[in-house]
Amino acid sequence: MPPSTFPRTAAEIVARLRAVVATAAGPGWPGRVLYALATLPIGVLCVALYAALVGSVVAVVYGIGVLLILLVLAAVRGFAGLDRRLARTLLAVDIPDGERVRRLPGVLAPLRRLVVSASTWRALGWVGVRVLLGVATLATAFFGTAVLLGLFYEVDWNLVNALPLLALVALDVVVTLVVLDLVVRLAASVAPRLLGAGAEQQIAALQQSSRRLADRNKLARDLHDTIGHSLTASLLQATAARRTLTPAEGRPVQPEFARQALGHIETNTRAALAELDRVLTVLRDGDGPAEGPAFAAPSLADLDDLLGSLRDGGLPVALVVDGEVDDVPPAVQELAYRVVQEGTTNVLRHAGTPLTVAQVVRSGDTLDVRVVNERASQLDSRPGPGGGRGLAGLRERTAAAGGTLRAEPTPTGGFELCATLPLAGAA
C-alpha cells in the first residue's frame, strides 16, 4: 500500500466537506440569515400541518376526514412549492420542480396523483425536517442566549476576570452563529433531495424529451424525403430547361422539353409547399395552440388546376368525379386532394408519362379516391412507386381520419393508389 493513501483520503474528505459547504453556500450570509430567521415561524407552521394531518386522520372516524386529509396533503405540497422557492432565492440551491399534479386533466387524476405521488410523501418528509430544523434553531438560540444572560447577570465582573469573561461571551456568540449557520447549510443540502424531482419523475421527463426528439427526427426525415426531394427534382428540371433554351453549337433549342420541365416544376413545387404547410402545422401544434394552416387548404375544386399542370408536364391524366361532392367536409376534401396529388406526382416520378386516371366517387357517407395508371411506356419501364416517399405520411393521415389507403401494382402492369375516406371521420 503506498504511503500516500492516508493523506489522499484525508484530502478527499476535506474536498468533499468543502463541496457540501460550497453547494450550500448560497449567494452570501444575508440570504442565510434571512433563511435562519424564517426557520422558526416556518417550523411552527410545519407543526401545525402535522397536527392538521393527525387531526384529519382522527376525523376519518367522523366521516369527513378523507376530504381533510386531501386538503392537508394539498397544503403540504403547496408549502413545499413555496419553500422550494425560498431555498432557491435565499440559499441559491438548484432544486428542480416537482411533479405538477394540478396540470393533470380531470378531477380524479390530480387527486389520485396527490395521494399516490412520491413527491407528496417526500414533501411530508420535508415538513418533518422543517420541524427538526426549527427545534434545532430554537434550541441553539435559546442555549446561546441563556449562556449570555448567565455570563452577564450571574457573574460579578471585575478587572481581573473581565478579559476571560469577554472572551467567553465572544466564544458563545461565535459558537451559536456557527451552529445556526450549520443548520441552514444542512437544510440547503437536504432540501433538493426532498423537494426536488423524484426518480420516477426524472424518468418520465427523460422519456418525454426522448419522445420529442424522436418526433423531431421523424419530422426531419419527412422534410428530407418530401420537400428536399421535390426541390432537388425541380432544380434539376429548371437547370435542364435553361440549357435547352440556350442556343449552343451543335445543340438545337428544345422549347417542348422546357415547357414540360416547367410543368414538372409547378407540380413539384406545389407538392413541396403542401408538405411544408403540413410540417409547419405539426410544429405549431407541438408548440402550443395551432393558428390554423398558413395557406388555404385545397379542395376538390382545385383538382382541375392540379391536373392541368400535370398535363403541361406531359402526363395524360383524366379526372372523373362521381356523385354529389359539394357537401363533403373540407378536411375530407383536402385529404382527397392530397391523395390525388401524391398518386399523380408518383406516377410522374416513377413511371414517366403513362395514361392516368384520377377518380373521386361519393357513395353514401364514404368518399373513394383512386389514382390508377397504365403500364409505363416502354421508354420508362420502371416499377411503381415502391418506396413512396410521401406515401407513409399520407397513410398516417388517412388512418387518422378513419379511412384506409392502398397502394399496389395492377395486374396489367400499372399502379393503383386507392383511399376510402369516411365523411364523418375528419369533419
Partner: protein, 215 residues
C-alpha cells in the same frame, strides 16, 4: 475521349434533368439510366459505362448495395459517383466504403457536377477533397494499429499516401515532393496496387482504417 455515363435515380425528373444537363457537354454521353439499384446492375452490364451516377436511397436495392455489387463484378470499371440530396454523413461514408469513388450533391452547380464526373473518371485527385477527407477521418474506426496493418510501403510511397489522404491531387503532390507528375502517378499506382484499392478514395479509407493516418 467521350465519357460514357449511367444515371441511376428513382425519380424520372431527376434523371431527365441530369440527362439534358450532362448531354450538353461535348465530352459526356449518357448511355443509359435506371430507376432502382437492381435495374442499374442490368443496364450497366449492357452498356459498359465509365462512370455511374448513383442515387443512395432507392426502392429495390439501394445505391450502396448496387455500388458494392458493381465493384465486386469488376475491380476497375465502372467508377461510381454517388449523388446525394443532402450531406447525410452516414449514407455517404457507407457508399464510399462500398466502393464509390466520390460523391456530389444533386444541388451542385452543373459545372461542379461535370467536374466531379471528370475527376472520378481520371482518378488523379479526390472529388471534394476536404469534405471527403473529413468524412473518412471522422467515420473510420480508430483502430490505430499503426503502419503494420498496411503492406510494406517504401518511404516515398508512404509520403505519397500521406499526401493523397490529405486530399492532394497528383499535380499538388508533385510540387510538394519535388517530383515529376509521371513519377507521382507511378507511386500512386503502386500504392493502390499494394493496398488493393481500386482508386484513391479507397486508398484514403484504407489509410485511415489501418491507423496509418490518425484523426
Amino acid at each position: 475521349m467521350t465519357l460514357r455515363l449511367l444515371l441511376v435515380d428513382d425519380d424520372v425528373l431527376v434523371r431527365s434533368g441530369l440527362r439534358v444537363i450532362l448531354e450538353s457537354e461535348p465530352d459526356l454521353t449518357v448511355v443509359g439510366d435506371a430507376g432502382t439499384g437492381r435495374e442499374a446492375l442490368d443496364v450497366a452490364a449492357g452498356t459498359d459505362p465509365d462512370v455511374v451516377l448513383m442515387d443512395v436511397r432507392m426502392p429495390d436495392m439501394d445505391g450502396i448495395a448496387a455500388t458494392r455489387e458493381l465493384v465486386a463484378r469488376d475491380a476497375q470499371r465502372p467508377r461510381v459517383l454517388v449523388l446525394t440530396t443532402f450531406e447525410d454523413d452516414d449514407y455517404l461514408f457507407r457508399s464510399l466504403q462500398a466502393g464509390a469513388s466520390g460523391f456530389a450533391l444533386k444541388r451542385a452547380d452543373p459545372d461542379e457536377l461535370v467536374d466531379a464526373i471528370r475527376v472520378v473518371a481520371r482518378g488523379t485527385s479526390l472529388v471534394l477533397p476536404d469534405l471527403t477527407r473529413r468524412l473518412i477521418a471522422s467515420h473510420a474506426p480508430a483502430r490505430a494499429r499503426g503502419d503494420a496493418a498496411l503492406p510494406e510501403l517504401t518511404g516515398r510511397e508512404a509520403d505519397v499516401l500521406r499526401l493523397v489522404a490529405g486530399g492532394l491531387s497528383n499535380a499538388e503532390i508533385a510540387t510538394e515532393l519535388y517530383l515529376s507528375r509521371e513519377t507521382v502517378k507511378t507511386h500512386v499506382s503502386s500504392v493502390l496496387l499494394k493496398l488493393r484499392a481500386r482508386d484513391r478514395t479507397q486508398a484514403v479509407i484504407a489509410a485511415y482504417e489501418s491507423g496509418f493516418m490518425t484523426t
